[in-house]
């Protein structure tokens, strides 16, 4: 029965395992790969109580009844961990050929992208806990300031940027002798964020590679001091901000991308269009935007549920990504709205051919959700070309949007 509801190919592609169970929690059917999520496989059998093998559902009886009675559309339990596998559970209701209403629980493994994000979070938590313990332990200690000096990297430079003094923390960070560092320009050891360091100025963010070959980012404070011979010096104090940099890059990714499809989002698209406008002013090359709206997406969501809708959007993202060239970007800017930014276009013929390609490849790649559910991809498209159809972001997007709606109306 499950193969009629969701095709094995979809289960494999998106790492989904499924189980069907009845209103009174009796197991009706399950996919073989469900065993990865079960602690005691002996308790996983048809007619067994699903709660004996899938403990996640204990306590959710009330929510499941609400789902069964149509008070909810779906139940989502995110980020569960079992046997070193992270997964989400989505539960919906479905009807069998005999018109019997059942629950279908879909187990989806987390993507590698999410896992690398989680690893970073784990490391950040680990570092923070270490930091909190160290803080608690040393705050009342007589050696407080000495310990700070041992942790904080600092060095002195003269007006020309030559290192005149380094502390122990700095030497142990690089694993170098004092004599090797003194007399050298600081840029031999520290690099600014912008790579270029002027001979006398120190950037507020520095990067350095430690003795283990790991890049570490520092925030620097610069304290000017007068030396004995009345020549001025600077003391540079470096604070390790590597974990902040990691969080910054993760947040930057999250801000610029759509969480469902992993595609760039509206914000990222706008940034890229701005870059293209600036570039085109120099090179006099044109670029184009193609607004893409999926036809009848709302009815897919209404008729088959949000899980099918989500799978469809992911599928579209993959199909469209396979069509565009390196350098072009495809963004998801709203529910079922996608925009392709063609970085530069040689001719309008090239653009026409690409649009025809989108149409033909989409037709050949419907979403095979299940044996009974194959959803064709049909789009309405609208194009705007810089600078002919607009010279700024808004007018380019509006022009493409209007053309897309015009096409949509004609199709309807």
């Amino acid at each position: 029965m499950i193969t009629g509801l969701i095709l094995p190919i979809i289960c494999k592609k998106y790492n989904i395992s499924c189980i069907l169970f009845s209103k009174d929690y009796k197991i009706v059917e399950f996919t073989d790969n469900l065993k990865d999520f079960v602690s005691d496989t002996k308790k996983l059998f048809v007619d067994g109580d699903i709660r004996d093998s899938l403990w996640e559902l204990v306590g959710f009886e009330e929510k499941l009844q609400e789902l069964y009675n149509g008070k909810k559309n779906y139940l989502h339990i995110p980020m569960l961990l079992k046997k070193d596998v992270f997964y989400d559970i989505n539960i919906e209701t479905c009807k069998t050929e005999k018109n019997e209403k059942l629950f279908i629980a879909m187990f989806t493994r987390q993507s590698n992208l999410s896992m690398s994000y989680l690893n970073i979070i784990q490391k950040v938590n680990h570092e923070n806990l270490k930091y909190e313990y160290e803080k608690e332990n040393i705050e009342n200690s007589q050696n407080y300031y000495n310990l700070i000096n041992q942790k904080l990297i600092s060095f002195h430079i003269n007006q020309k940027g030559i290192i005149t003094e380094v502390n122990k923390a700095c030497l142990s960070f690089f694993g170098l002798e004092k004599s090797i560092m003194i007399g050298k320009h600081f840029s031999n050891f520290f690099f600014s964020r912008e790579v270029k360091v002027s001979s006398t100025e120190v950037s507020n963010i520095l990067r350095a590679t430690n003795l283990n070959g790991i890049d570490v980012f520092f925030h620097t404070d610069i304290i000017p001091v007068k030396s004995e011979k009345n020549s001025s010096q600077n003391i540079i104090i470096c604070q390790d901000i590597t974990y902040l940099k990691k969080i910054e890059s993760e947040l930057e990714y999250a801000v610029n991308h759509d969480s469902l499809t992993g595609l760039p989002n509206r914000l990222m698209l706008r940034k890229r269009i701005e870059e293209c406008i600036l570039k085109s002013k120099d090179t006099k090359e044109s670029f184009a935007l193609c607004f893409i709206d999926l036809n009848k997406f709302k009815s897919v969501n209404d008729e088959y549920g949000h899980h099918v809708g989500d799978m469809l959007l992911k599928h579209i993202g993959e199909v469209l990504s396979s069509i565009i060239r390196e350098g072009d970007i495809i963004a998801r800017i709203g529910g079922d709205e996608f925009v392709i930014l063609f970085d530069h276009i040689e001719s309008t013929q090239y653009l026409d051919l690409t649009l025809k390609r989108i149409d033909s490849i989409s037709k050949k790649n419907p979403l095979y959700y299940s044996e009974d559910l194959i959803i064709p991809l049909t789009f309405s498209l609208g194009v705007s070309i810089y600078p002919n159809d607009g010279e700024d972001i808004e007018s380019l997007l509006n022009h493409a949007d209007e053309k897309m709606y015009k096409e949509k109306k004609e199709r309807v």
């Binding site: 980020m79 569960l80 961990l81 938590n125 909190e132």
Partner: protein, 171 residues
């Protein structure tokens, strides 16, 4: 036979996972691995209510701790029958968070029994009057100084909570 769910809540690094590992597997590791998402453990218990014995199965939800960047997901508390709030005796900040965690529990599912574990009692810490925390909320049924490392008061905490939950389910 009663099958029910409880959730351990607390700031990150307070030892929620260690308490569960001690209670379920009787094991302990010094290594800190920050929990992400949820893992669920199962423990069979016997509750003794008015001299009558009741079998029960406790599903223990170990959810990721609260950090400055990430609050606790209320999703995970749904369907619970009791809570254990975990704080680290050596980190004041985690003790200050107890009140907020209890408020979150009450807001999500009111009037469930709550136990507080002041964990890591094996480490050096400032003396605090843990009994004073009983006044925070009338649903607090037990407060313990626990140590997952030395196996101190771990079993007692879970058994007290089990008795309280089963007592309410019987009624």
């Amino acid at each position: 036979m009663f099958n029910y769910k409880i959730v351990l809540i607390g700031d990150f690094g307070t030892g929620k996972t260690s308490l569960i590992r001690r209670y379920v597997d009787n094991s302990f590791s010094e290594e800190y691995i920050s929990s992400i998402g949820v893992s669920i453990s199962k423990k069979s218990l016997i509750a003794n209510i008015n001299e009558q014995k009741y079998d029960s199965t406790m599903m223990i939800w170990d959810i990721e701790g609260q950090t400055d960047f990430k609050p606790i997901l209320t999703h995970y508390l749904n369907g619970a029958k009791g809570f254990v709030i975990v704080a680290d005796l050596t980190r004041e900040k985690t003790i200050e968070s107890i009140k907020g965690h209890i408020e979150l529990c009450q807001k999500t599912i009111p009037n469930l029994p709550i136990c507080i574990a002041f964990n890591k009692s094996d480490l050096n810490h400032d003396e605090i009057e843990i009994e004073n925390y009983k006044n925070i909320d009338s649903n607090i049924v037990g407060i313990f100084r626990t140590s997952a490392k030395d196996d101190n008061c771990v079993k007692e905490l879970f058994e007290l909570l089990n008795n309280e939950i089963v007592k309410r389910l019987v009624q």
